[in-house]
């Protein structure tokens, strides 16, 4: 492993590590912007869902990957954001961006409450407290939904297409650009956080809380900040998800959804924003890929429900376990290794 040397704080503060990286980002952005013109509607749907998942995963990654606080209640915050969006979208005079902002704020405020036990609890006990919050909140949402009306109780609240004033977001293509912009914004905010005092404090707390405290970092404050920002981003992602689905129903936000988000940041690579995006894309693309493979092979449609969907679930689980057992570091580590061996070729070690 070749050490990545920094020649001073200035290099740490910089948003881009080199001009080349900037050029690469511009090129990637150009390719991404050109994508909706060439790919099929199904692929666009996968990309859109992956973008929403990536936003949520970045939020979780700030909390878990960067600050080392584990939460398996992430689906609860997605549900919170979706619920706020579903309620506020009933008022037509409220602009779409304001609704998104309200969802994020609601997520952040509730996040402070959910983060409070983290001041006292560590590790597995914290996991259990987020689990308890998740179940309490979801049961609450379910009760609320069942009291609305018999139709809503079954199918959930419906949301209109988002209206940005100039354009209405209805087509997959319009969604793609909206979600792309949102993902870029959230990534930029997170990158800025990571290279600021807050981000460095989180890393220090994750690596050794006692040492961090003795360096003058107020650990409880920064832990609460981590919870707040992570759940605000999750609320934002939840609002986008509810708008994209067109409905909000408590049944959608299962504990499995929380675990899937956790899987995204593990498979992608803990603590890395690019890793969270990669992981979200990877995990979102698996079920459609399996379905596509099944259609190509030609399986009787009766088998579809009985075997294919459970197979997807099993495959998800196997993938998470295998990555954790044999591939620590996830996709981003693989990327870095490939990059490193390319840079040091032909003298560096092989993959």
């Amino acid at each position: 492993m070749i050490p990545v040397g920094l020649d001073g704080y200035r290099q740490d503060y910089r948003l881009l590590s080199s001009v080349r990286q900037g050029v690469a980002i511009v090129l990637i952005a150009a390719v991404v912007a050109w994508l909706p013109g060439v790919v099929s509607a199904q692929t666009l749907e996968i990309l859109n869902r992956a973008a929403i998942a990536a936003i949520g995963a970045i939020g979780l990654n700030l909390l878990t990957g960067t600050c080392g606080l584990i939460s398996i209640g992430h689906a609860g915050f997605l549900a919170l954001g979706g619920m706020v969006a579903a309620i506020l979208s009933q008022f037509p005079w409220l602009p779409f961006p304001a609704i998104l902002a309200c969802s994020a704020i609601a997520g952040g405020v509730v996040g402070i409450g959910v983060g409070l036990p983290a001041l006292r609890l560590r590790g597995l006990y914290l996991v259990l407290s987020t689990l308890a919050f998740y179940y309490l909140f979801l049961y609450g949402v379910r009760v609320w939904q069942s009291h609305l009306s018999s139709v809503v109780a079954l199918t959930g609240l419906s949301l209109p297409a988002p209206d940005l004033g100039i354009v209405q977001i209805t087509s997959g293509r319009a969604w793609f650009y909206l979600l792309g912009a949102a993902l870029a914004g959230v990534s930029l905010i997170s990158l800025n956080l990571l290279r600021s005092r807050t981000g460095r404090a989180w890393l220090a707390i994750r690596d050794h809380e006692l040492v961090a405290a003795s360096m003058g970092i107020h650990a409880p404050y920064f832990k609460l900040v981590a919870f707040t920002i992570s759940s605000a981003i999750a609320g934002f992602a939840g609002a986008l998800l509810a708008y994209y689905n067109g409905t909000f129903s408590a049944d959608f936000y299962t504990i499995e959804l929380s675990i899937i988000y956790f899987a995204m940041i593990i498979i992608g690579g803990l603590g890395s924003i690019f890793g969270a995006i990669l992981g979200a894309l990877f995990v979102t693309a698996i079920p459609p890929l399996i379905t596509a493979a099944v259609t190509t092979v030609g399986v009787p449609s009766a088998w579809q429900v009985a075997y294919v969907i459970p197979m997807e679930v099993v495959l998800y689980g196997l993938l998470i376990v295998l990555v954790l057992l044999f591939w620590p570091g996830g996709l981003i580590a693989l990327w870095r290794r490939a990059h490193e061996s390319l840079r040091t070729w032909p003298l560096g070690r092989a993959l």
Binding site: A132, Y139, L324
Partner: protein, 295 residues
């Protein structure tokens, strides 16, 4: 008075299940420091395996019980041997995610693949007798529920005796206390941990079998088992002796809230209690404070 009887009998049933499943959480956590999120799926799997055994061979339920326990023990042992030693030395959230993935995805998926998600009714399909026993205070317990309650007490006492009087139990305590020191003294800690997983899984699968015969068999069993976490936490995640009291508090509160207030509130009670105990006494009523700060 009818309400009180209904609440007490529903509560007794919950206490038995939370106690038996929670015991598994505690045994595994005490031994290997892992919160086993796959335990709920093991609980459900016990029901399905028992159902398959009875359906295929036509054996009576009593005869299937030891077989289910044996298979459960083997599965727990295999699960530990296959997955856990590889995770040694990794951060503590890695086993959390691995057991989550195994329980909620792999095992649940396999159950759906093999047995379909449809709900099954043991008593109707296989024709077991499950007579109601009437106790004072109008508490109605079915034979199986009564057996589960007795089973909880017997199993708990057996485990306590195992820890206190047998060589392997003392080895388990030593390995839990400090696995480095224990292995220096010649204890094969992986064998000891595998045994703990095996015992816990056998108990969970047997309880799952009995419960699904009594109620119904489908994947809601996984959720029931999650509510055993609060029972284990209230008693103390490291205190086997406190478990019955934890199960009693959580199960009875849930049953009373269900009967007297609202069924939906009843569902919330275990998690509210879990939060309450985490905020006030994270080490549980019978645990020691060091336990909560160890991880």
């Amino acid at each position: 008075m009818l309400d009180l009887g209904a609440a007490l009998s529903a509560g007794a049933n919950l206490v038995a299940i939370y106690g038996l499943v929670g015991l598994g959480f505690v045994i595994i956590y005490r031994a290997s420091g892992v919160l086993n999120f796959a335990h709920g799926a093991m609980f459900a799997l016990g029901g399905y395996i028992g159902f398959a055994l009875c359906e295929a061979t036509g054996m009576p339920m009593i005869a299937a019980c030891p077989l289910v326990a044996l298979i459960g023990g083997a599965i727990g042992w295999l699960f530990y041997r296959a997955v856990m030693p590889t995770l040694a030395g990794q951060p503590h959230w890695v086993p959390v995610l691995v057991t989550c993935a195994c329980g909620f995805f792999i095992l649940a998926g396999v159950i759906e693949l093999v047995w379909t998600p449809a709900s099954r009714d043991f008593l109707g399909e296989l024709g077991f007798a499950n007579t109601i026993i009437r106790l004072p205070l109008e508490i109605d317990l079915s034979t199986i529920q009564a057996a589960l309650l007795v089973g909880l007490i017997v199993v708990e006492l057996t485990i306590l005796a195992l820890y206190r009087y047998t060589r392997i139990g003392i080895q388990m305590k030593a390995a839990a206390h400090d696995h480095h020191l224990a292995s220096f003294r010649g204890i094969d800690i992986h064998a000891v941990f595998a045994l703990a997983w095996s015992i816990a899984t056998a108990i969970a699968m047997l309880a799952g079998f009995a419960y699904s015969v009594d109620q119904r068999l489908d994947l809601h069993l996984v959720v029931i088992a999650i509510k055993a976490f609060p029972a284990a936490m209230v008693g103390g995640l490291e205190a086997i002796g406190g478990l019955i009291l934890g199960a009693l508090i959580v199960g009875m509160s849930e049953a009373f809230a269900t009967v007297y207030i609202d069924p939906q509130i009843g569902e919330l009670v275990p998690f509210a209690l879990l939060l309450l105990i985490l905020f006030t006494r994270p080490w549980g009523l019978f645990g020691r404070p060091q336990g909560a700060l160890r991880v």
